[in-house]
């Protein structure tokens, strides 16, 4: 008898094993997805964090270049200048200049002029464009220098510091007799232009897609009769969601480019994006219209309100949190899209943004950084962090707004 009751208390072994396997696999798979997400964020932050700086976010992409030419060929006097260089500085006593290894905004290796003596010859060299001496040399990146050396075999040599480092630049200066020309640069590699382009695109896309999408949702959810045509329409909208974005880019390029300025422009890109996110907005607005209690619409109609008044005074205000969520999804899509924008808004990274001209958005900026000869993971991840931050900020904003709306509507 005792054995019998023991057996009854336990489930059969086979069933227990099945249960453990089934529940175990769900834990395993869910942990994988969480690990993948966390790993992605850790990777992006570890790679991109060093690139982030206020200069990177607010700076121009195109650097400000200075081209200095020697007014008259001045031979360097020997060791006239005195300076105590820091540990990583290289000082040329002949020229009164110190050089230092540095990195630009994108994290690429450069050589900068870290110190200029007050009496250094370089202060007298004139700017090729203005014809006047340029005093803002300290801190500039050296792009290239043409040096003339008489002591050995009278040779002109072009030094490009990105190919070498501060030490070799310094020794080349020490050896040379004349400096013919020096190209300097300040700033550059910033993402401000792409950031503004992205914001423009969000604004224009939403201004076009939200009214159209909400209108479509109202038609489908409230006015449309439940017949075959409506069903086909719904299926089509579902299918549009599945069309690859590159095809939207192609069609957008064919249709919107001739309609707008003819060449790539932010407006054309935004219109393409609006087409892409329309189904998202229609779907989720329709869903949120569906969740409103039917009695609400009925009691409005029973009070002698017309269907239009009911829609705009009762249904839409109640669907607002859902509409905002759909807008957030749409904005996320706009921020993250690159393929559809390459043919419509172009890949050129601009600093001064005009909506009728093409300009790269943040996602296209990443594409651009990674498509060149030197793939720049650090800078790309820096941009990625900015994108993630924008999406996070928007999510929080919309959560707050939805919460406020719910609070005022539910009276709690």
């Amino acid at each position: 008898m005792k054995r019998n009751s023991d057996q009854e208390n336990k489930l059969p072994l086979k069933r227990r094993i099945k249960d453990i396997l089934a529940s175990g696999s769900t834990y395993l798979f869910s942990s994988f997805s969480i690990i993948a997400l966390v790993a992605l964020i850790i990777f992006i932050f570890s790679q991109g964090w060093s690139t982030l700086s206020s200069e990177f976010i607010t700076g121009n992409y195109n650097s400000n270049s200075i081209n200095l030419v020697t007014s008259n060929e001045i031979a360097p006097t020997e060791n006239t200048f005195e300076y105590k260089p820091a540990e990583d500085e290289y000082f040329s006593a002949n020229w009164g200049l110190a050089f230092m290894n540095s990195t630009d905004n994108e994290g690429l290796k450069t050589t900068i002029i870290s110190y200029v003596d007050n009496n250094a010859n370089i202060n007298n060299w004139v700017d090729a464009t203005t014809g006047k001496p340029n005093t803002l040399i300290k801190g500039c990146t050296i792009t290239s220098v043409i040096l003339w050396t008489t002591s050995e075999a009278s040779t002109a040599s072009v030094i490009v510091p990105t190919m070498s480092d501060a030490k070799s630049v310094c020794s080349a200066f020490e050896k040379c007799s004349y400096v013919l020309n020096i190209n300097l640069a300040t700033g550059g590699q910033g993402i401000r232009g792409s950031l503004i382009t992205t914001l423009y695109m969000i604004l224009i896309t939403m201004a076009v897609a939200l009214p159209l999408g909400i209108g479509g949702a109202i038609y489908l959810g409230i006015y449309a009769k439940n017949n075959k045509i409506t069903k086909i329409l719904r299926t089509l909208i579902d299918m549009i969601t599945g069309i690859p974005s590159i095809i939207f880019g192609l069609v957008g390029g064919l249709i919107f480019l001739p309609l707008t300025s003819g060449s790539t422009s932010i407006i054309a890109g935004s219109l393409t994006m609006a087409c892409m996110i329309l189904p998202i907005i229609i779907k989720s607005t329709e869903e949120s219209l569906k969740t409103i209690p039917h009695g609400m619409a009925l009691s409005s109609l029973a009070l002698g309100a017309s269907q239009t008044q009911t829609t705009f005074r009762v249904l839409l205000p109640n669907a607002l949190p859902g509409i905002l969520t759909s807008a957030l999804l749409g904005i996320g899509r706009v921020i993250g899209e690159s393929a559809a924008l390459i043919y419509t808004a172009g890949t050129a990274i601009m600093d001064y943004i005009v909506p009728t001209q093409g300009s790269a958005s943040l996602a296209v900026h990443i594409w651009y950084l990674m498509s060149g000869e030197h793939q720049n993971f650090a800078a790309s991840c820096g941009v990625a962090i900015i994108i993630l931050a924008i999406i996070l900020a928007l999510s929080i904003l919309i959560k707050i707004i939805s919460y406020r709306i719910n609070k005022t509507q539910k009276g709690k």
């Binding site: 009769k225 439940n226 209690p293 009695g295 609400m296 009925l298 009691s299 409005s300 109609l301 029973a302 009070l303 002698g304 309100a305 017309s306 008044q309 005074r313 009762v314 205000p317 109640n318 005022t408 509507q409 539910k410 009276g411 709690k412």
Partner: protein, 267 residues
């Protein structure tokens, strides 16, 4: 028995003479697609009287109620034949919006809009284009007083209608309906979602409203019908079995089916 019946018939004639009818319903048939939900309904609804519609679930009493303000129009493939006249005017010829301003409706679930008490009451008038502040204020106060809610909410008209209790919400819905100054108020089981105390308040309210309005109420609760109504129509399987003054209906039902239903011997 015969004498008794004759007396009742006499009284019915008296009623016809005394009360003027506001709704005249003749041979109304209603179809949902091919299914017939109402069969040859004919009755009069009298002015400033409470008419109760009773019957088992699915008998068509709510469907009939919705015919009176043409809410059935909202349902696809619902077809109504026959004649329903409001003050001698065929309602199928009237504009639905105008009709519904004259014939208000209160639903089973209290469903105030998610806006302030004030805005809830102003909703109907505003939809009709009334925006005069002073008039709206007056209308809000009058409607709330009529709905016996004024004393409870006069200090918090700006609070959300959904913050009220269930019974208060239902009275707010009645007030919202009264703000339209309707001739008839249709009530579709207005107390079935409320507790007994809130129910008795609504019943008292119906008693008060009778003076100025005609009320048609659908109810599952026969005691409620006896308490609040002057006339009772008993529906079964889409047919109106009997229509009589409440007093006579419950004391001397003419039909066997009515008798069975009242006494609970219902197969």
């Amino acid at each position: 028995m015969e004498i008794n019946d004759n007396i009742i018939l006499e009284e019915e004639k008296n009623i016809e003479a005394e009360k003027s009818s506001i709704f005249e319903v003749r041979d109304v048939n209603l179809f949902y697609g091919k299914k017939q939900a109402l069969k040859n309904i004919s009755l009069n609804i009298y002015k400033n009287q409470v008419t109760a519609l009773i019957g088992p679930s699915g008998c068509g009493k709510s469907t009939f109620l919705r015919c009176l303000n043409r809410m059935n129009d909202l349902i696809d493939d619902c077809k109504v034949t026959g004649s329903i006249k409001l003050d001698g005017q065929e309602i199928s010829q009237t504009n639905t919006i105008l009709l519904r301003t004259k014939v208000g409706m209160v639903f089973q679930q209290p469903n105030p809009f998610p806006m302030s008490i004030y805005d809830n009451i102003c909703y109907g008038p505003r939809c009709q284009g009334l925006h005069d502040k002073a008039m709206l204020n007056g209308l809000v106060e009058k409607s709330l007083k009529e709905a016996a809610l004024w004393d409870e909410v006069k200090d918090r008209l700006k609070t959300n209608g959904l913050a009220l209790s269930g019974g208060q919400q239902q009275r707010l819905c009645i007030a919202r309906c009264l703000a339209m100054r309707p001739d008839v108020i249709l009530m579709d089981e207005p107390t079935s979602a409320l507790d007994p105390i809130a129910t008795s308040k609504i019943e008292e309210l119906i008693e008060q409203l009778k003076k100025n309005y005609t009320i048609v109420i659908v109810t599952h609760n026969m005691q409620q019908a006896t308490r609040v109504s002057d006339f009772t129509a008993f529906f079964m399987l889409g047919e109106m079995v009997e229509f009589n003054s409440t007093e006579h209906f419950f004391s001397h039902p003419k039909e066997q089916k009515s008798n069975d239903y009242i006494t609970g011997r219902f197969s």
